[in-house]
Structure formats: C-alpha cells, structure tokens
Subunit: 225 residues, 4 copies
C-alpha cells in the first residue's frame, strides 16, 4: 500500500510524499497514536530521513496542519467570485468547502479533529485558519445586510455568533456528508443554504432558498461526473 520504493528523489518531492503519508496517518490514527515508524514506512523512506527533512513529530504535524489549512482556504477562495451577491458567494463557498472536504477526508480529519484535540501549538495553528473563515462569513453577513438596504443593527458579537453557528453547521455537515453514502457536496451545500438563509421558520412556510442563476456551487468536473 505504501508508495513504490523509488530511490534518490529530490528533496522537495520526498517531502511531499512524507507529508502525504503523515496526513493520512495522523488523520486516521490521531496525533499520538500515529508512530513515526508507520509514517516513514507509508512514505517509503527510512525514519531518519523523515527527521532530517521535518525535524520532529511536532514539526511534522504542524507542517501537515499548515499544508492542509492552506489547501482548504485556497479551495474556498478559488470557488468564490468576490463580486457576486452575498448569498451567491456563500453558496459557492460552501460548494467548494464540501467538495474539498469530501475529496480530502484525511486532511479534513487532521484539521477538524486531530489538530484541535492535542493542545498547543496545534490548536492555535488551526484556530487561525478557522478565524479567517469565520471572518469571511461575518463579512458576508454584513454585506447581505447592506444589500437588503438595512443598517445592521445587530450588535457585533451577535453577528460573530451567527458566523460561528454557520461555520459550525458547515463542519458538522461535512462530517455527515462524508459518513453518509449518497450525499453529494451540492446537496450538503443546498441543505445548509436553506437552513441558514431561509431558516426553519421559512422552510415550514414553504419559502425555501433557491440558488441564484449563474452561481457555481461545485467545481465543473464534479457536476459532470
């Protein structure tokens, strides 16, 4: 199952192989239960090489967190057209988010489960990424208020709480979609848009949210597949 044993690779390539193996192992076993032996074997290299390139288990885990956090935020960023209306941006962002977490379950487990469970310095590493996302959602909510020609008389902390709730819901739905066969990224995004934009009250009243024309909730290749 490990990578084919190829010898004499340039350092950059080997490092990525190691990070791949580490993300997979950390994501499945957890930070402490993962052994450097197992990671090295899965990467197809000897343990000393892992230490030569990545210094320590702690540094290796931190590198995993950073790489996966960057990949996730980049995926969301790339999926959102910043000039679109607020609900379109949210719809697109959620689509990109659920698509990415579905395609990278181990990376998602590292970020969402493992990094938060093993104290400093890992927790703050992933907290920084999460804060970035929460800030983005907060801006979206304020933009929606502006678009509705309303002063956001909601206090700051109230908006922060709403953004937290939305992000938390998205995280839970990502786990749920990964664990429930047959639920696509698009469906998860639609469920969350309905929930968050219309609210349960409106849903009950028969007024669901519907995707704006032209919004792209998931990557093109996913739709065609």
């Amino acid at each position: 199952m490990g990578a084919v044993k190829t010898k004499r690779m340039p350092r950059a390539v080997r490092e990525q192989q190691m990070l791949d193996a580490a993300v997979r192992t950390f994501g499945r076993r957890g930070y402490m239960a993962a052994s450097m032996d197992e990671i090295a074997e899965l990467a197809g290299v000897s343990k000393p090489l892992v230490y030569l390139y990545l210094n320590s288990k702690e540094d290796l885990f931190t590198a995993c967190i950073r790489r996966e956090a960057a990949a996730l935020t980049e995926a969301v960023r790339a999926g959102v057209r910043r000039e679109a209306p607020a609900d379109s941006q949210l719809w697109e962002g959620l689509g990109a988010f659920f698509t990415h977490t579905a395609q990278n379950p181990d990376g998602w487990a590292v970020l969402h489960l493992q990094a938060r469970t093993h104290g400093e310095p890992f927790a703050s590493e992933v907290a920084a990424m999460r804060a970035e996302i929460v800030a983005f959602v907060t801006q979206l909510i304020l933009a929606a208020a502006r678009e509705a020609h309303r002063d956001p008389d909601l206090p700051e902390s109230e908006v922060a709480g709403l953004a937290e709730a939305l992000v938390g819901a998205a995280e839970a739905l990502a786990d749920w979609a990964n664990a429930t066969p047959g639920v696509t990224a698009r469906e998860a995004a639609a469920t969350l848009m309905n929930f968050s934009w219309s609210g349960l009250g409106n849903l009950m009243a028969g007024r669901p949210w519907s995707p704006p024309a032209g919004a792209q909730p998931v990557a093109a290749h996913e739709v065609s597949g």
Copy 2:
C-alpha cells in the same frame, strides 16, 4: 487538588471519584496523553485499584464517555417540556445544552473532542448519543411542520441534514461560548434560535425570532442564581 485520602469508602463512591479524575484528565490531556498514573493520583487511590474497578484504560475511557453522555442527554431532557410547541422545546433544549456544557467543560471535551478522535470503540459510543440528539431535533422539525399545518414534503434525508446542521451549529456555539468570556448560555441559545428558526434572510428583513411566553431557556436554578 486531588480528593482527600480517605480509607474504606464504599465501592460506588470510589468509582465515581475515579471517573471524576478520569474525565478531568482525559478532557484536558487527551486520551493518549493521559496516564493512568496521573488519574490514579488525582483520584487519591493506587493504580491497581483503578484496574480492579475499571479493568483497563479503554474501559475507563468508555465509562467516562457513557457517564458524560448520559449526564448531557439527561440535562437536555430535564430542560424540555415535551408538551410545549416545537420552537419552545428547541429553545429550552438549547438552553439546557449550553448550560450543561458550560458547567462541565471537561466532560464536554471528552464527548466532543476526545471520544471522536481516537477511533473505535469510542467514536461509535459517542455517535450513539449524538444520533439520539439528532433524532430528537428531527422530531422537533417534523412537529413544527405539523404545527404549521403543512405536510413535510421535505424528503427524509433533507430533514436529517437540517437536524445535523442545527446540532453542529450548537456544538460549535458551545465551544465558542466556553472560549469567549461574557457569552452566556442564554445568549448562545438566542443566537442559535434566531439563526436556525428565522434564518439569515429573515433576520436581514427585520424579522427575528423571539422567545415564546413561558419558555424556559435555562434551568431554573441558573436563573435564580
């Protein structure tokens, strides 16, 4: 800080002391980083006694999960008047939930962080509790539809997704409230009710949700205290 060393306690009492120590240690250090030595010392007993009563680290952790899961579900159950309208029940349940998680941060960490991060058999143990809560919320949503005199033409899986989203949002807000000084259980519950019941769209339109008369968002003793 450990329990005062008293001799000859009845078994049930000793066991609770051990579970107290274990929940605290597991919640703060994590499952793997917690050592049986530390737990035994914190409980004020010798290590062999922990093994005599609780068999193994795995069994001890499982016992922690079960006890904390039971305590949490019981707290929510006790906070909800089952004959009240759906939104009242949700409001009361959320109040009870945020109150309990705020008062039991270690137990909440065991359930929400540690138990889910260390594979089987712990993950399914806590998944069972979570499924129970999700099922309760699902029933609430269906009841709300009935109260609104609408057939729930929403497909089953759609409702399940909504319930997952709501529960996920609640979990995130519990962490947020615990980490943000000055946010009370009542405020967290109100934020989530607004978010989930009215939806962001209605909030923007100036139609927030407001607590029904007679609903108790938090346990009575909390209000009086």
Copy 3:
C-alpha cells in the same frame, strides 16, 4: 556475572544494587558508552525500574558520583588522626587513599576519569570533592610550617599550587599503582611521601623521608593480608 535474580526486594536494597551496577558500567565503559540496558541487566532488574528509582541517566550518574565521592572522602577521613603531626597525617591519608582506590577501581575511574570528562553538571560535582581534599592538604602544609616554627611567608596562591601538585601526584600514583602489578598502597604512599616531603634534591643527598613512629599508613587488615 549479574546479580542473582531475586524478586521483590525493598527499594533501598535495589537502589544500591543499581548503583553498584552503574558504577561498574560507567567506570569501565564511560558515561556515554554505558547503556541503561546494560546497567539494568547487570543489576538484575528491568530498565523501567531503574528509571522509576533513579529518574534518568544523568541523575543515575550523578548519584554514582556522589556515592563514590562520599565513600572516598570518608575513607580518607577515617584513616587520619587529626591530632597527629602534619607529616603523619599526610602519610596516613595517602595510605587510606591508595588503599581505597585500589579496592574500588571502578569508583575511582568514575571520579577521576569519567566525571571530569563529560561536562556539567558532573564536572562540578567531582570538583567539589576534589576542592575539599585540596583544602585539607593545604591545611596540612600550613600546619607543617607552623610546626617548623616558621611563618609561612609563602604566598597563599603558592601554597594552593603546592597542594594541587601533591593531589595531582597522588591521583597519578593511584592509577600507576592500579596498573602496575606488585605495587602496594603502602609503597605508593611511601614514594609520594619521599617525593613531596623530602624532594628530589634531598633524596639525591641521601636524606629520604621516613615514616614517623606510630603512624598507620594502611588499614590494619591490609597489612596482615
């Protein structure tokens, strides 16, 4: 060659067994080349027990140094009659010193070779013991001057240097006596008394130093053996 495997010893006894094994191993292999595995095996216990009782390799080595330093200074102290003339005291002290180092070659190696070669905190540990001995010799030299009814117009630092030289000569002769079959502690002591008390010049002139009546250069049992 290891101690007979006896089970369930009281802690104090086991600790001495471990120190015995450690002194022997450190003395022969050196601090770094000695492995905790080897020490544990030689002591007839498992490695975790060594750690349980003695904490770390560093602490174990420090404990060895302290025990051997205490034993050596105690042996010298016990061999010297403090009310005797200065040269008698030196003669007795040297006898005790050479006897002890001959009977404890591993302990002597720990003190004289290993502890000084591996930096702090070991070096200062043994330096303290050595300083004590140098101070004792310094007092002896000053006492000799007083006995000769001379003001010691030798400057302080000069006397310190003489004491250093005498102690250094004793250390070298201890190694030499241990390495040269047939050289007894008594002979080594006599050689050094001649060298230091009479000086080469006097020896050449046919005026060697001779042991004062009643002085005991070596332990009684050694003489009879």
Copy 4:
C-alpha cells in the same frame, strides 16, 4: 567560525583543517558526544570527504591523539637543552609543557581527558606518549643522582614511581593553571620545581629551589611577547 569554504585545496591542507575541527570538537564535547556532522561542518567540508580522508570516527580520533601527542612532545623536546644540568632540563621542560598546554587547551583535553576515558585503542595510544615523557623524567632523575656523585641506590621501581608522581603533578598543575586566571606557565613551573626538587620539608626549612642561571623556563617568543 568554521574555515572559509574554499574549493580545491590540496589534500594535506584539507586534512589539517579536518583535524583542527576534530581536535576542537573532541576536546570540548568529548569523543562520544562529538558528532561527525559537527566536525565536518566546522571543517567546512562535507561529511563523505571526512570519511574519504580519515576513514572512520575511530581513525579520526586516533589521528587527533597522534598529532597532539607529537606536538606536545616536540614542544617539550624543543624547549630542553640536553647538555644542561638535570634540574635545568627539568625546569626548561616544565616551562615548555605548561606553555604548550596553555596554548592548546583543546589538544590537551583530548590527550589528558578524552583519550584516556574511552578505552582501547585510544588509551594505549596516549599511554605510549606518556611513557615517553615518564622515561625522559626518569633519565633526568638518574642523571641528577649521577651529578650528585651518588650511585642511585634507589631501586628502579622507586625511581619510576617518582617520575610518575612528577608527571602526575605536572598534569594536575596544567589543568589548574588553565582553570585559574592569572597563573602563568612560568609560575606553574616554578611551583612544581620547588615542590619536586626541594620538597616540602626543605621549603619549610627556608631552602627553596631557585632557577639556575641561563635556564629558559619558557619559549623565547613567550618571554619577549
């Protein structure tokens, strides 16, 4: 602080750079704690080159011992006028010895501390050099006896012991002088001449040894500098 990285040096030069780095590292860290990585980096070359030129860590250390032993004996030899009286030769030899050890503390540490502490084959390597010095001192003592027109009725082994004592005292004083600010090589030599030539007894009687006219206790360039 390492040598400037210059390419294409002749082999002999590169080898000396490596030995310089090795002596410094071995002298400060000890044989086992010194890593080939550190030595290579300090020498400004890659690790394989060190192995190409010097074969192994053991061989490298042996080469260090040999070079430093040769340098020390050569320094002493160069400082002594072989046709002078015995005490002059000793005085000059000691001066050269203390000067050299003060100027080469790392080399002295290698010879006096490290090489003797790590077993064969290093111990016998340095023992050979030491034996040479002891033999030289033995000859000096016998020559002094001849000069005093006395048959050395001292037995061979007695003279050997005296030489051992003198050399041991010199070694200890070298360490002492290096560790004690303000003690010069000349003072150390004078102290040891007094101690060994006159003896404590004569010192007490007010008959110290005094340097013969024309004797050179330290290298000429030191005096002028």
